[in-house]
């Protein structure tokens, strides 16, 4: 297996991917014990999709997953989707790709007759075409819990109207663009259905090359040998995002990376950085990095330089786009970069596997790859004019939902850096917490906060008492139930707003309040806000005349930071059940939990 993947990694051509797929299928491998490493794929649609499925399958394996793949029959997707006992559902897919060719739905004479159709007719057909896909999609959504990836339609290059196509109210191109627009609109709100912009990917690749007409007419294979792996790469982005494997942080070198030249030798006037050539390529690269920062990607610096020389550029150079405030952490020194990166990961508190390293020097890159194979070390182009294109086509930062917390993540980490500096200067921990001016807002979860709450439930590992993962639907069931409550907590201090960072799910039973889940993002650990959170739950329980609060704890490899939460807050009598759940009890008659005096509870 390893051997097969190694060889395809070296040359991921279409034939090699397909060949690897066939070889792996023949091995009949058992599924791994850890479910989290398995991805079940289904690829269905109107054409012969085995080659696409093969590429998607093997590329998912190259990301380190065990894969099971179902490939739908030729144009049998409707039956597969409607028949709940079909093989599509038997594999319980995690990801379903729906690839429907518009021409398989449209009338055979559609193209020939399009020019003679009235605008009204065109719009009616357009609606019907979109409806066709949407009805299949909605069935898939209700019959599975999978992520559903729907290809949009490729806007054709040819139109019988020629150059006056867009002088028509609904020209042929606008017909397809409009259909795609309807699909995008209808699917925008779904948390599980994603419209894959096939039209855009095809344009980027070259529409004239996406089909091999020989294999199309011979075997209804929709995509050419060269394009099929490219499209599979696009699906991989969703798998990576779904599995929480996205990169979160870019570690940047300075000289010849953020600007041209060497600051220590060329001086602030001598480096290439400006709004005209030479130097515009670096400014534009920085703007792209800033766009990622504004989306929530953390930036850090790792450079061999005298800190004073380097920082002068950030403070004084008129064309410098990125400022000190954009960096969550910096290592500007003469230490080796592998050690610096390890320190950066620790300081920012993220895994090395969430980091991307950008450095123009191949020797530095080789060292990082060797010492920290988890870090994504990008093979930077030699030509700085290609830096921007490199970062814009990296596609490793995808997430499935983008909350306001995500977007502000960059600022939050900068706040963290300032907090750390303050902590180091404070005389005691209490003194430090007092100067932070902490404010927390705790309430039952609102519709607005639900996506963030579901996201936290899905990804929090360290400060998570029970690590129970609940879906969107399950959380909403708890919210509606009178025997349960879902709390969220937002935290704010003088360095910034962290947004919603903690979740608790309480189940009420016979006068007892059971804390089924209690979790908090690791970035607010050490600020005693968990005490405020517990105190609020205790106060609410008291108001509801509950007698006891029972907190559950299930140990995992990653959650030792949370292990003593209940003990620290006066819960006693721990008992452990057969399934390793420890229950801690707080008798409300005798004990309570108070909000620390340095934390202010605020209302909505």
């Amino acid at each position: 297996m390893k051997e097969i993947l190694e060889s395809v990694k070296k040359d991921p051509s279409y034939l090699n991917l397909w060949s690897a797929y066939k070889k792996i299928q023949a091995l009949n491998l058992p599924a791994p014990e850890d479910e989290r490493n398995t991805v079940r794929l289904a690829v269905i649609g109107s054409t012969t999709l085995e080659p696409l499925a093969a590429c998607f399958d093997v590329k998912t394996r190259l990301e380190g997953f065990h894969v099971e793949t179902f490939v739908g029959g030729f144009n049998t997707y409707r039956q597969e989707v409607l028949d709940k006992s079909s093989d599509l559902y038997k594999i319980k897919p995690d990801v379903v790709v729906l690839s429907v060719d518009a021409w398989s739905i449209l009338d055979k004479m559609f193209l020939a007759n399009f020019v003679r159709m009235s605008v009204k007719e065109r719009k009616a057909v357009q609606k019907e075409l979109a409806e066709n896909v949407l009805s299949v999609t909605s069935n898939l959504e209700s019959n599975t819990s999978a992520l559903i990836l729907v290809n949009n339609f490729v806007v054709p290059v040819f139109t019988p109207f020629g150059i006056v196509d867009n002088k028509q109210e609904v020209g042929l191109k606008r017909f397809f663009e409009g259909t795609n627009e309807i699909l995008a609109e209808k699917l925008e709100k779904s948390s599980r259905v994603f419209l894959v912009d096939l039209d855009n990917i095809a344009s980027s690749f070259g529409k004239s090359r996406i089909t091999n007409w020989n294999t199309w007419y011979r075997g209804s294979i929709p995509f050419s040998d060269d394009f099929t792996p490219i499209l599979a790469d696009e699906y991989i982005r969703y798998v990576i995002a779904m599995k929480g494997r996205a990169k979160k942080c870019i570690v940047l070198d300075l000289d010849n990376t953020l600007w041209g030249g060497i600051i220590g030798e060329d001086g602030i006037e001598g480096i290439k950085l400006g709004n005209t050539a030479p130097g515009i390529e670096y400014v534009e690269f920085q703007r792209s990095l800033l766009s990622l920062y504004n989306r929530g990607i953390i930036l850090a610096i790792c450079s061999k330089n005298n800190p004073d020389d380097a920082l002068r550029v950030f403070r004084e150079h008129p064309s410098q786009v990125l400022k000190e405030e954009h960096f969550a952490a910096m290592r500007i020194n003469w230490q080796n970069k592998a050690a610096n990166i390890a320190e950066l990961a620790k300081e920012i508190n993220i895994g090395l596997d969430s980091m991307v390293f950008l450095d123009d020097n191949p020797i530095e890159r080789a060292q990082i790859s060797q010492v920290h194979p988890e870090v994504l070390v990008v093979d930077m182009p030699k030509n700085p004019r290609l830096y921007r294109e490199m970062i814009e086509s990296l596609n490793v930062f995808d997430v499935l939902t983008l909350t306001s917390e995500d977007m502000a993540r960059g600022e939050m980490y900068v706040g963290k850096r300032k907090r750390t500096e303050l902590e180091q200067s404070a005389t005691s921990i209490e003194d430090f917490l007092r100067t932070l001016e902490l404010k927390v807002r705790i309430n039952e979860v609102t519709d607005f906060d639900t996506p963030r709450v579901v996201q936290l439930i899905g990804k929090t590992n360290q400060f998570n008492l029970t690590t129970r993962r609940y879906t969107d639907a399950e959380v909403n069931t708890f919210r509606k139930s009178s025997d349960a409550a879902v709390y969220s907590m937002a935290v704010h201090d003088k360095f910034g707003d962290e947004g919603v960072v903690a979740v608790a799910i309480v189940k009420k039973k016979d006068g007892d309040w059971w804390i089924d889940s209690f979790l908090m993002s690791c970035r607010v650990i050490g600020r005693s806000v968990e005490t405020a959170f517990l105190a609020k739950i205790v106060a609410d329980a008291r108001k509801a005349n509950a007698t006891r609060i029972i907190g559950e704890y299930i140990p995992t490899k990653k959650n030792p930071p949370a292990s003593d939460l209940y003990k620290r807050h006066g819960f006693g009598m721990p008992s452990t059940s057969d399934d390793n759940v420890t229950s801690w009890i707080l008798n409300l008659d005798e004990q309570t939990v108070d909000v620390p005096e340095w934390i202010e509870l605020t209302e909505e």
């Binding site: 034939l15 397909w18 085995e50 294999t215 011979r218 040998d225």
Partner: protein, 79 residues
């Protein structure tokens, strides 16, 4: 072994997932399980791409052995 033979063997080994020495001229589509319809399609299009030619539909149907493929390919390249 000509360059053409080598290129062809390379394609055949990858399409059928076998070693070069297992490829015999009399390998038959009917008796060889990996040579299913999908593999046949794959084989034909890879050969087309590699040699910059195209096969007629009848020719595709008439390729029954490795030898058939070689013959028709040589004939195409010669013209």
């Amino acid at each position: 072994m000509t360059d053409l033979d080598n290129k062809l063997i390379d394609i055949l080994t990858r399409v059928f997932r076998i070693e070069p020495d297992e490829i015999k001229d009399d390998l038959k589509r009917k008796d060889f399980e990996p040579w299913d319809s999908m593999a046949h399609l794959m084989l034909v299009s890879e050969v087309e791409n590699e040699f910059g030619i195209f096969f007629e539909d009848e020719e595709v149907v008439d390729i029954w052995t490795v030898d058939d493929l070689k013959k028709i390919l040589k004939q195409k390249i010669a013209t």
